[in-house]
Symmetry: C2
Subunit: 392 residues, 2 copies
């Protein structure tokens, strides 16, 4: 059967995270492995109210096929939010509603990538992006990211030696590392890319979840012709609805709409209308502020416990927002080995492996802090510290 | 910019239907062009009730990320329905919930097709399938379908000369032609395919909409190892939810799930839960029977008006279900030219062109009868008859 499949699907390994999450179904395990927003903040009542309003006011219309671009009212709200929050002037017509921002990645891969095309991705990078792009069989060029942003020396080299079509970035509170690009780093990246035909994909699922520090400048301001933005409601409202969006100039949008039609005709229209009603009737900024306050406390608890319990020689990022920390163990320690040891102590995390294009074993790992309360975080970090000591 | 895009997207023309539907926004036009189910039958109240039940009984859980395969309760309902209605024994684990059955097509293309692989498609064929598969750049082998089913002589030739990976079929009330494969034809097709590595995709969005005649045997019974089934709730419940499904054996399913994760992680989970609740609390068979009764009357009205008003020498299919009729004009008459003339008389349809892989101008056209009441159908067919006479 194997040779009946496409080369692209034979090349993509089964999701690593999926296998790990299976282990963590055991309720006695403290899991820092997930990438989920905290369900305690899902606006259940407000969405139910919005749903009833939509059924009553719009009736059968919201159950019919709809246009591929998405509900114009929702795209206007997104446009308005860019204007108010980011000072960005983005026309609703330049916004495409996607089935989660994951679909945005698939549509971009489909629209831009021929087999063997060059693509720059952060290292470590978002594994969902690696997976989505891998299906179009590009040549990946990982460029390291760390505190402050992307390694511009390495980026410059790749841009000189190759002609990458896409540069994938998560500039705010990156998944997996939690790092953010500084304004200086953004400017340096934009300067390098501008004038080339490389498109910067600025994926921003966590941007609204800022605990501290100042919002940073967008690539849309620095390199407007070279930038595509991805956004998501999964971390601010609810992931189940699978609603995200993509911002692209008209020349690119025309192609993306062809890809969108072929992919699923349009995203769930009832969900779009419910979300639109919810955003119209509720103060989303106040809602997000509640989430941010709690995630911020949980991050502090995790950083505090790491400082208290981890042995010396272990590095940890200190994000200004988002849902993840990134741990660098001593060079000789394998995070895959640590994972096995930690599961024995009933604590789980994601080893660095799936965040590297070459899936190498590494001394790095990701910790999620959005889904555990503070005492659980402290207990889990204690267990993890014990596992590290055992392996040292 | 053009050369920045992938070859696949540069090759796919903008949706023809989309352009046509723009013309029909004019309310004075009687449109037989759409492919929409009749919104008069959308169960607005029952879905609202189901939505409230889900919010109240399940709360935050239905707003969280969910598994890629889809909600097990919904997959069990689909499995049960196959057992009861079709006598098919399909395990819920062999069912993948997709974002409309359109996504099923994209996932199958992604999972099976390398560039240049051979693919058999009906001629005329469903344009959404042509569009979805075209993005994976296969070599299309159109095989004619007509009253009774697929041209097995031509099919046999293609199977002998090439090694097609996929054979795409809509065996019940096909879009665009309305034809169905007879049991004899299904057996002949299955016999030809069995033993080869070709997968038959049996897409069945309209199967439940039968006005007359007997249900036919499934490829799943005739060639179980070679068959993938696609299904949809768009024509029986509501299209806006974008919920369909795919049935495949485990060896194929594993690959499809990888493709599904990369495409959108999972389909809208709230919508899955609402649909599940709706199906649990309502008699879907009774609901579909109401739709079928009305569509059947509308089809009779259209066939009657065609017999009354069309000039001689025009052929028309007489479907036992579904939403479409297929007209064959005299050989010298172009349906594109007729479209221009008909728009002047305020009646619209879809010319045959987009249903042919080579997009040739043709003397064929598709008429939709699901969305217009009987007097409107008669008036529209009168206008169309006048346009035909003018062109003759």
């Amino acid at each position: 059967m194997e040779n009946a499949f496409s080369d692209r699907i034979n090349d993509v390994p089964k999701s690593f995270i999926r296998e790990i999450l299976k282990v963590t179904i055991d309720a006695s395990i403290i899991s820092f492995a997930g990438g989920l927003p905290n369900r305690a903040f899902f606006p259940v009542k407000a969405l139910q109210k919005a749903s009833n309003a939509v059924f009553e006011q719009a009736g059968a219309e919201v159950l019919q096929y709809a246009n591929s671009e998405g509900y114009i009212g929702l795209r206007e709200q997104i446009s308005e939010r860019y204007r108010k929050r980011d000072g960005l002037d983005i026309a609703p017509e330049d916004i495409l509603i996607t089935t989660g921002s994951q679909q945005g990645l698939d549509l971009l891969g489909k629209t831009f990538l021929n087999e063997g095309d060059d693509l720059i991705i952060e290292e470590p990078g978002y594994l969902g992006a690696i997976q989505a792009f891998a299906l179009y069989r590009p040549r990946f060029h990982p460029v390291p990211v760390g505190e402050g942003g992307m390694d511009t020396e390495k980026l410059s080299l790749v841009l000189q030696e190759r002609s990458p079509k896409l540069l994938y970035t998560v500039t705010n509170f990156q998944n997996p590392s939690g790092i953010s690009y500084s304004n200086e780093n953004r400017k340096a990246v934009a300067d390098l890319v501008q004038g080339s035909s490389c498109i910067i994909i600025q994926d921003d699922p966590y941007g609204a979840l800022r605990f501290s520090g100042e919002p940073k400048i967008s690539f849309k301001q620095l390199a407007p012709d070279n930038t595509v933005l991805l956004g998501s409601f999964s971390k601010t409202v609810a992931p189940a609805l699978r609603l995200g969006w993509l911002v692209a100039p008209p020349g690119i949008m025309d192609k993306l709409i062809i890809a969108k039609q072929a992919a699923d005709l349009h995203s769930d229209y009832l969900a779009q209308r419910i979300l639109h009603r919810y955003l119209a009737d509720n103060d989303i900024d106040a809602h997000v502020a509640t989430i941010v306050a709690q995630y911020g406390k949980q991050k502090e608890a995790m950083i505090g416990a790491i400082n208290d319990f981890f042995p010396a020689g272990i590095q940890c990022t200190n994000p200004e927002g988002g849902m993840f920390l990134w741990i660098t163990l001593p060079e000789t320690m394998s995070s895959m080995a640590l994972f096995e040891a930690a599961i024995q102590k009933k604590v789980a995390f994601v080893p660095g492996t799936p965040f590297y294009v070459d899936r190498k074993d590494s001394n790095t790992l990701r910790l999620n802090f959005s889904c555990s309360d503070e005492p659980t975080i402290v207990e889990g970090i204690k267990r993890l510290a014990e596992s590290i000591r055992e392996l040292s």
